[in-house]
């Protein structure tokens, strides 16, 4: 059963509104670049964005299209287009949605504002298989060249061996050469070093932002957090990203000093684990009626928001980016992810974890049980797990989702009262 009862998320910060404008401006810029005849890249997953910024490349990050069309309730249409193209319903809803956008013969005027055909495609298999395989289809369909960055899975923890760094860094060099060959000029190594240095600044600022969010009451919940993560995901290596985070930090510090929270009377702090309900972001506000706030969502970290900034050495730009990708928490296998959630629960004083399973995701559902057990063992904090597809409306049941949240929160409140 599906319902169309969806609402946008309510944000509470000024800087996140600014960030939303920056997102629009970015895609506007891509459109203009295409008109000026500059090459357009499609990319996805955890390809290090710094290399693109260092090359002044115009990139559409395709994880963004499903989010944007999802928030406008248009994702269902494009998902259907992909299914008509032969993609099974088991294929990740994000990828079905983007593939639908990629192959649709007609596009909605909203999507058309920022949709541009690619000149070439750069894909990777991090964090999941879908990233590389759906891109092959898109490359075939648009008949454009394709470069694949193979990311070894992290079987080493924090001590990544030199041969793995060498392999990944070599492929980044290959990507730079590929971009050069396809019309992006020669590699400016100083610019790349600068990008790595700015990326380091960005993560240091994000860590300070995170510290502010640990305050009780929290000055920023994940409705803002998901927009606030945009510089982290898309702008590492740019001055714009740094400037936006400086402003956000200032705003949050002010709120913490004044004791202003998302809620005046914060009773419960929650962590969202899994894909957020992009189709119905208002669901994240729904819990507020209980005095509960979703302080964070794991997705905010999806492209490198959880690593030690000291690994970034601008004099070794490719090796630094390789290290960053290989230790990323979403790089399987899960030790890093489980430890990260465990720490987050403690640092952010979380009372309960909401684990949502998007049936078609190959990656996140496999973490649910280990995360649930590890968090409970470590801090006694419970996790609820239920199905929720934030993108494919046919899989989304609003009433059941709310009932699941109601019963979990009521149980948390009852146990607090005891």
């Amino acid at each position: 059963m599906t319902t169309k009862v969806t609402t946008p998320g309510e944000k509470s910060l000024e800087t996140t509104a600014e960030i939303s404008k920056a997102i629009k401006a970015y895609y506007g810029g891509v459109k203009v670049a295409k008109e000026e005849g500059k090459p357009i890249i499609w990319s996805y997953g955890l390809t290090p964005r710094e290399i693109f910024h260092a090359m002044d490349a115009h990139v559409i990050y395709l994880e963004h299209l499903p989010l944007m069309v999802g928030a406008k309730q248009l994702s269902g249409h494009y998902i259907q287009v992909a299914e008509e193209e032969g993609f099974s319903r088991d294929v990740c809803a994000f990828h079905r949605c983007f593939l639908g956008c990629a192959v649709a013969s007609e596009r909605d005027p909203y999507l058309d504002q920022f949709f541009v055909d690619p000149d070439f495609i750069i894909a990777t298999n991090l964090p999941c298989m879908s990233e590389s395989k759906s891109f092959l289809y898109a490359a075939d369909h648009h008949n454009v060249p394709y470069y694949f960055i193979d990311a070894p899975i992290n079987t080493w923890g924090k001590d990544i061996p030199d041969y793995a760094i060498e392999y990944y860094a070599g492929q980044l060099k290959g990507t730079l050469d590929f971009m050069s060959e396809h019309g992006l000029g020669t590699v400016d190594w100083d610019k790349l070093k600068e990008a790595v240095s700015l990326s380091k600044k960005l993560i240091l600022l994000w860590n300070e932002i995170d510290k502010c969010r640990q305050a009780v009451p929290t000055p920023m919940g994940t409705v803002d957090g998901l927009t606030a993560a945009y510089p982290l995901i898309q702008l590492p290596g740019t001055q714009l990203g740094v400037t936006l985070f400086e402003r956000l930090l200032k705003e949050l510090k002010g709120k913490v000093e004044r004791g202003e929270g998302v809620l005046d009377d914060e009773k419960l702090r929650l962590l969202w684990f899994g894909v957020p309900p992009f189709y119905n972001m208002g669901l994240l506000n729904y819990v507020e009626k209980y005095g509960a706030v979703v302080v964070k969502s794991m997705i905010e970290y999806i492209a490198g928001g959880a690593y030690d900034p000291s690994i970034m050495d601008p004099d070794k730009p490719l090796e630094s980016l390789a290290y960053k990708a290989l230790v990323d928490i979403v790089n399987p296998i899960s030790e890093n992810m489980v430890n990260f959630i465990r720490e987050t629960v403690k640092d952010f004083h979380i009372d309960g974890v909401i684990g949502v399973v998007k049936r078609s995701c190959g990656l996140l559902p496999g973490y649910m049980r280990p995360v649930k057990d590890a968090v409970y063992e470590d801090s006694g904090v419970p996790t609820t797990i239920f199905d929720l597809d934030g993108l494919d409306i046919r899989e989304y049941d609003d009433a059941t989702s709310k009932a699941n949240l109601d019963s979990f929160i009521e149980a948390l409140l009852a146990s607090k009262r005891r």
């Binding site: 395989k133 193979d150 070894p152 899975i153 392999y167 190959g362 559902p365």
Partner: protein
């Protein structure tokens, strides 16, 4: 009893193969899947044992894995939780898909009785840096196998193991090559079962039996061979029910590009001074799995099989939630269909939903 019956009979009690081996005081290493080099395990005097699933319903594993993970992997984990793989001295997995990656985590976190090792194979082929990376990984793997077995692996012993496994692959290919004939000597279901038995058994025995078998079936002809010639392609099928269904409906399965059949034996190592390098290149220069890049060669391979075996129709078989092959079938299907009709099926690993597919299979075969 014919050799054919003897080999197929092994599948009734595959654990007996292990018991016989263990009775000699030797160790057994389970593995999944084609990118785990059995030769290295064998060169350490251990038995590489392909962990296959069962058609049994999943019980305990469902409270660990969400039901949207590939059922084959959940099945293996279920058997592991139940202690059914406790006879193994280790389990080795390779980096092929999201599901197997998660199996590594789950196994390490929740099953103590059998240590689990993940071999980090690249997903990039024909690439010197990938060869180099994989070589490092294989050296680590070799050392782990030496430590586990207490046996040093010399170049000579590794070369011997490679030759032995190449011979198995060569014989299986020769046997299956007979299916090119207008009237094949063995049915698709028989071919799959022989291949599975050959994969499970110690290769010293396998090779002797395969030689006899080839001789035995050379003059044989299957009955009812006038139906359309079918190729089944996809990931893993570890029981013959689907193939039997296709054959019961009048199809003649002449080729099966599966992890338990052609993918296992179609290629051999190339001559190489350095046996480790031979293994590196063997795994990164053959396009058998949908997880690898680039994918053109796999498409060409399918075309080659279609031509050589005079295939009239293709069944693209996907275990539900098998992401690599789900993408591959969508990508290849359109192109393949330009010349050969394709039926895409998504089925649970246990093949429990097969009844519902009967009509589709029947309609497909009638259409051909």
């Amino acid at each position: 009893m014919t050799t054919l019956e003897r080999m197929i009979g092994i599948l009734d009690a595959p654990e007996q193969v292990v018991m016989d081996w263990k009775a000699k005081g030797k160790k057994v290493i389970g593995y999944r899947c084609l990118y785990v080099p059995e030769e290295i395990i064998h060169a350490a005097a251990m038995l590489p044992y392909a962990t296959l699933g069962t058609p049994e319903p999943i019980t305990k594993a469902d409270s660990y894995f969400q039901p949207c993970a590939c059922e084959f992997v959940r099945n293996i984990f279920d058997l592991g939780l139940d202690g059914k793989f406790d006879f193994l001295d280790g389990l080795v997995l390779s980096n092929t898909c999201d599901a197997v990656r998660h199996l590594k985590n789950m196994w390490t976190t929740y099953i103590d009785s059998v240590p689990c090792y993940m071999l980090n194979n690249p997903q990039k082929m024909y690439d010197e840096p990938a060869f180099k990376f994989y070589r490092h990984e294989l050296e680590g793997f070799k050392k782990t196998m030496e430590d586990l077995s207490g046996n040093k692996i010399s170049d000579a012993s590794l070369r011997e193991s490679i030759d032995l496994y190449d011979e198995t692959r060569r014989l299986l290919k020769e046997l299956n090559g007979l299916r090119r004939r207008d009237v094949p000597p063995i049915s698709g279901a028989e071919a799959l079962m022989i291949s599975m038995a050959a994969i499970l058994m110690p290769k010293e025995e396998t090779n002797a039996l395969l030689l006899q078998l080839i001789d035995e079936v050379k003059t044989r002809e299957i009955k009812d061979a006038d139906g359309p010639r079918i190729m089944v392609t996809g990931s893993i099928i570890d029981n013959p029910t689907l193939i039997e269904l296709v054959e019961d409906m009048g199809g003649v399965v002449v080729a099966d590009d599966l992890c338990t059949s052609m993918k296992y034996f179609w290629y051999q190592t190339k001559p190489n001074e350095d046996p480790m390098d031979a293994i590196v290149r063997f795994n990164l220069e053959r396009s058998v799995c949908a997880c690898m890049h680039p994918s053109e060669e796999r498409y060409d391979f399918l075309q080659e099989v279609i031509g050589e075996f005079a295939v009239d129709g293709i069944i693209y078989f996907n275990v539900k939630y098998c992401h690599p092959f789900v993408y591959e079938s969508a990508t290849f299907r359109k192109k393949l269909e330009e010349e050969t009709p394709v039926l895409a099926l998504e089925v649970d690993h246990s093949l429990s939903g097969l009844g519902q597919l009967k009509t589709r299979v029947q309609a497909f075969i009638e259409m051909l």
